[in-house]
């Protein structure tokens, strides 16, 4: 066994997986409450990456930052998460809320419209060119290793931050008043509103959190892989979506595990399977189909018993 | 009036959900042209019983026989084709189809023309289509002017609650079933509508020739229609017999009527 390769693949898989998990959480949260596939979620993630870029450059750029690297990083995350959160709330307010009682497919289409709109607005404003983060200098391009286990600072940062955010979210949903309101709304929206829960507010908060996580993922992606462009949301959104479904859409731990599985599967497929990088997506899809066929509601999803 | 031939027979039926036994060791017989009411408090397993009979759930053990033929394991649509049709407590009409289309759609099972033939409208296809229309109108006609005439082309969602219940029954009739399973046909109705439904159920048996198994909470209705009453509690049959016998059975009173009698009567 080539341990070095295995470690490398694992590190890369975990990094990617954390990002997918963060994106998947957004899908899952929204799906849990509204039973809606938010197609525009991937594009929110893209906007997050761009907001981070603007924050970085407003703070003097990667080479001569106004503050120390850590502060700049922190501010980048804050800007991206807040910005995306507000964007998410606006999207819900404008594109989904008027359609609560419309046929199921209408909000899907509306979401599609938002996705096209965001993607091309980014093209319009940011331009078609790729933008570099160049933060390799800011936070150090140095690679550390423990034995044969190589990892870079951004990778470590991504995994740690992703896990931190997810723990925080889990606690929030489990402990806080709003979190409880979210759970009850997700369980039965009408009953929740009868119990005096402001459902609209809960939904707004859900969108805010999900989108903020996507924004954070966008910045992390750019820190690790260095580059952003207006079309980047689509593939990431698809993978996040896959992760959410794999883990059981609507379930928070499901999204995390699903994300990590997709990331690792992708990485190992690339490394070990024939023509791995070429057919990478095919392998991931095969895995997904397998999981769905065995457990139609995903790994952590509850099997819905249709009430007759 | 009531024939002697057994039409539907349940033998030692069992069903649990995640350790909770919803139907336990149930035996039951429905004879031809009989109206049998199933009563019991909420959670007694009444609707589950219907789901088992119509094949939506598969029993853990036991048999369901229609005319001596075991239905267990058959797909729901197959069971309906063999002659058991139902309505839903929660009303599950095809809301965005017209009244008449609802009834026509339910004739799928006993019609034959395939897609390709209907695409080119062969004479056979036209004939069958005409027959479907005729039958639908006949079934809707059963409800007097409630579902007649210009209402045929209205969408089902535009119907009042009571008419939706009627349409569900008409839809079940259109499958050419012999047994109708009516799940709380009078739920949510006012006294006058309830009275109408009671009369209708009698008419279904007398004029329509249907055998009827009905779940009902309203004791007026149960009293008015039942040849026989079966009381369930926690999936167990606790009493069976005439309305009077069951209603005065101490176990039933304890389980159910003791709490409810004053409210409903």
């Amino acid at each position: 066994m080539n341990w070095s390769l295995f470690f490398d693949l694992t590190v890369s898989g975990l990094t990617l997986g954390s990002l997918y998990a963060l994106i998947a959480l957004g899908y899952s949260l929204v799906y849990g409450i509204l039973k809606l596939l938010n197609f525009a979620h991937g594009d929110v993630y893209m906007i997050g990456a761009f907001l981070g870029w603007y924050a970085l450059h407003a703070l003097g750029g990667p080479v001569n930052p106004t503050f120390t690297g850590a502060v700049v990083l922190f501010l980048m995350f804050v800007v991206a998460m807040l910005g995306c959160g507000v964007l998410g709330v606006a999207i819900e307010r404008f594109a989904y809320r008027p359609l609560r009682n419309a046929p199921r497919i209408a909000p899907l289409i509306s979401a599609l419209g938002v996705s096209i709109f965001l993607q091309n607005s980014a093209l319009l404003i940011f331009g078609a060119a790729f933008r570099d983060y160049d933060t390799f200098d800011l936070i150090g391009v140095k690679t550390y290793n423990i034995g044969q286990l190589f990892f870079s600072v951004p990778q470590l940062l991504t995994v740690v931050a992703a896990i931190g955010l997810m723990v925080a979210l889990t606690l929030f949903v489990a402990r806080s008043r709003l979190g409880k309101a979210m759970r009850s709304t997700s369980f039965d929206r009408e009953a929740a509103s009868m119990m005096g829960i402001d459902v609209d507010r809960v939904i707004s908060v859900t969108f805010f959190i999900g989108s903020a996580l996507a924004g954070a993922a966008g910045v992390m992606f750019a820190l690790v892989f260095g580059q952003i462009y207006h079309f980047m949301g689509f593939i990431a959104g698809l993978k996040g979506f896959t992760a959410a479904v794999l883990g059981g859409i609507g379930s928070i731990p499901g999204a995390m595990v699903g994300g990590l599985i997709v990331g690792l599967a992708e990485s190992y497929a690339t490394g070990y399977l024939p023509q791995g990088s070429t057919f990478q997506n095919l392998y991931v899809f095969a895995l997904l189909i397998l999981v769905i066929l065995i457990r139609p509601s995903g790994l952590f999803g509850k099997a819905a018993i249709s009430k007759v | 009036m009531t024939g002697d031939a057994t039409l539907l027979e349940l033998k030692e039926l069992d069903k649990s959900f995640g350790g909770l036994r919803v139907i336990a060791d149930l035996d039951m017989v429905v004879k031809e042209h009989e109206i049998v009411s199933v009563i019991g408090p909420n959670g007694a397993g009444k609707t589950t019983l219907f789901n088992l009979i119509t094949g939506i759930y598969r029993p853990d053990s036991g048999e369901i026989q229609l005319d001596g033929r075991n239905l267990v394991g058959m797909a729901p649509h197959k069971i309906t084709e063999l002659g058991i049709a139902r309505t839903f407590q929660t009303l599950r009409l095809f809301l965005n189809m017209t009244v008449k289309e609802n009834v026509m759609a339910a004739q799928y099972g006993h019609t034959k023309v395939g897609v390709l033939r209907s695409m080119v409208r062969t004479p056979g296809a036209r004939r069958e289509e005409k027959e479907i229309h005729r039958l639908a109108e006949e079934k809707l006609g059963f409800f007097g002017d409630r579902l007649m005439g210009y209402r045929w082309d209205q969408f089902a969602y535009s119907l009042s609650y009571a008419n939706r219940r009627r349409l569900e029954i008409a839809r079940a009739m259109a499958t050419q079933a012999r047994i109708l399973l009516l799940d709380e046909p009078a739920a949510g109705m006012n006294p006058r509508e309830t009275h109408e439904i009671t009369e209708l159920i009698g008419k279904l048996r007398d004029d329509g020739g249907y055998t009827i198994l009905v779940i009902e909470h309203d004791m007026h209705v149960v009293e008015g229609i039942s040849d026989r009453v079966v009381a369930l509690d926690h999936g167990v049959k606790i009493a069976e017999g005439s309305f009077e016998a069951v209603a005065t059975d101490p176990r039933v009173v304890e389980a159910y009527l003791g709490l409810r009698k004053t409210e409903t009567k």
Binding site: F117, S121 | V113
Partner: protein, 483 residues
């Protein structure tokens, strides 16, 4: 929805009132036209649309026929197939364009130099259609167990897998046959033969157009017939409520498969035709983007509305092209806005006040800017002519608008989101500045990028707006969903 139990009007339905209302409403010329339309037999309805379409080639040039006519029909045919799966049967199939690709590749294999096959069309088309139908069946099989969103994800992946497969199939060695370059990999399969029916070659744009017109008309009629048959009703029933459908003697699984198979067959046919138009089967042609386009068509047209699809195809194929030049785009844009205001703003006094306010606001801003910030007015509008020059005295045109226009754009998006939340009075007061902002962004940013991002931005915004106004699509009937 539910009637309170003690309402005095027993058994009287809400719709009695609504029916009476509707009857009244359908008077006048519009009512007369609608009534006529409803009384027409399906074949005649198709004729109403097919006649102008048949005349179209004589009115325009080859390039226009290709761009506006041919592709409208390709998309219409494709969307008709999708309509069977999604519109009729209610199955969210996101891998649909893969069937389109299957059709094109299959025909390419049968009739191109790739394998030296040159089949006649009358033999190749049935083979292609049956082949894609079988693929549809295979994809449909696992779908029997899956509901809604899971079906969506599975089919989406089928679509992705298809693209990856055709893009890389040249790298695969198959068992038994060894290496066979089935799809030409990234290069695709070139030089596909035109259809050859018993020696008659469909090789010009006009011939292809008529072939497509016949295909669309035929599929339209067939679908109308199916829609009014037991299968059509069963599909709709299963769309409405699969469980109730199953209990009402409808074999839901078989009908789902049937919908998949027929949808795939139509897509396969379209694919073969498209293959002869593009003269090549290229892997990039069958990706998610096309799926979005086809969905947009079906949605605009209205779910389950067969005639609506044709109109949807016209809109989606042609509007973006019309917007291509600023000469067309400007009147179209302002026309739409004016129309929206005319419809929305009543009474006319308010309308006049708002428009007057807009004009005044423009002059005021322009006056202030030219006095205080001359940088804001030292550019000029795109295009020439009196109207453009007049605009220069009213609208701000910075010489280098890039940054300020970007900011204005973001501001505008924010304003549009916030605006509906305001009270009526504030909305009335803020309308002129908002409209001015819209025009500023349009003139300084959107119009500049009219060949690029603008068109798609407008498409996206249109989809959102349409869903807000009419969730059922332009021609769909209103649907009601129970929670």
């Amino acid at each position: 929805m539910e009637q309170p139990p003690d309402t005095p009007r027993i058994g009287v339905d809400e719709w009695v009132a609504s029916v009476e209302g509707k009857r009244e409403r359908y008077t006048g010329p519009r009512g007369a036209v609608l009534k006529r339309w409803e009384r027409l037999p399906p074949a005649a309805r198709v004729l109403v649309f097919a006649t102008p379409a048949a005349v179209f080639p004589f009115l325009t040039s080859g390039g226009n026929l290709f761009r506006y006519g041919l592709f409208t029909l390709v998309y219409a045919l494709l969307a008709l197939g999708l309509n069977i799966v999604v519109g009729f049967a209610g199955l969210l199939d996101l891998g649909y364009v893969a069937f389109f690709g299957c059709g094109a590749y299959m025909y390419a294999i049968l009739a191109s130099p790739q394998f030296g096959n040159h089949w006649q069309a009358e033999a190749a088309i049935p083979v292609v259609v049956v082949f894609t139908a079988v693929v549809g069946l295979l994809v449909g099989l696992p779908s029997r167990r899956l509901l809604g969103d899971y079906l969506a994800i599975l089919t989406l992946f089928f679509g992705q897998a298809f693209v990856v497969f055709v893009n890389n199939a040249n790298r695969i060695s198959f068992p038994f046959v060894g290496h066979a370059d089935l799809t030409g990999g990234a290069n695709g399969i070139a030089n596909i033969d035109p259809f050859n029916f018993f020696g008659y070659r469909i090789d010009s744009t006009r011939k292809q157009y008529y072939l497509l017109l016949i295909a669309v008309a035929l599929v339209l009629i067939l679908l109308m017939f199916v829609n009014e048959s037991r299968t059509g009703r069963a599909w709709r029933a299963l769309r409405e409520d699969p469980l109730a459908a199953e209990v009402m003697s409808i074999p839901v699984n078989r009908l789902k498969l049937l919908a998949f198979v027929f949808g795939a067959a139509v897509a396969g046919l379209t694919g073969a035709i498209y293959g002869t138009i593009a003269t090549a089967a290229l892997p990039g042609d069958y990706d998610v983007g096309l799926l979005i386009t086809v969905y947009a068509i079906m949605i605009l047209g209205g779910f389950g509305s067969i005639m609506g699809i044709v109109v949807g195809a016209m809109i989606v194929n042609n509007i973006p092209k019309l917007l291509h030049s600023s000469a067309n785009a400007r009147p179209l844009f302002y026309g739409t806005i004016l129309l929206a205001i005319l419809v929305k703003l009543r009474p006319w006094r308010l309308l006049a006040a708002e428009l007057g306010g807009l004009v005044a606001f423009g002059f005021a801003i322009h006056g202030i800017a030219s006095a205080a910030y001359p940088r804001l007015v030292d550019g000029e509008s795109i295009g020439s002519g009196v109207s453009a020059r007049a605009l220069d005295h009213w609208m701000l045109f910075p010489k280098n608008p890039v940054k300020i226009a970007d900011v204005a754009y973001i501001l505008l998006v924010a304003a549009i989101v916030v605006y509906p939340q305001l009270s009526r009075v504030w909305r009335a007061v803020l309308l002129p500045p908002l409209l001015y902002l819209v025009m500023f962004v349009w003139e300084n940013l959107l119009l500049v990028h009219i060949g690029g991002a603008t068109r798609l931005i407008l498409l996206g915004a249109m989809l959102v707006a349409l869903m807000n106004i009419r969730p059922q699509g332009l021609f769909g009937t209103a649907t009601v969903e129970i929670a």
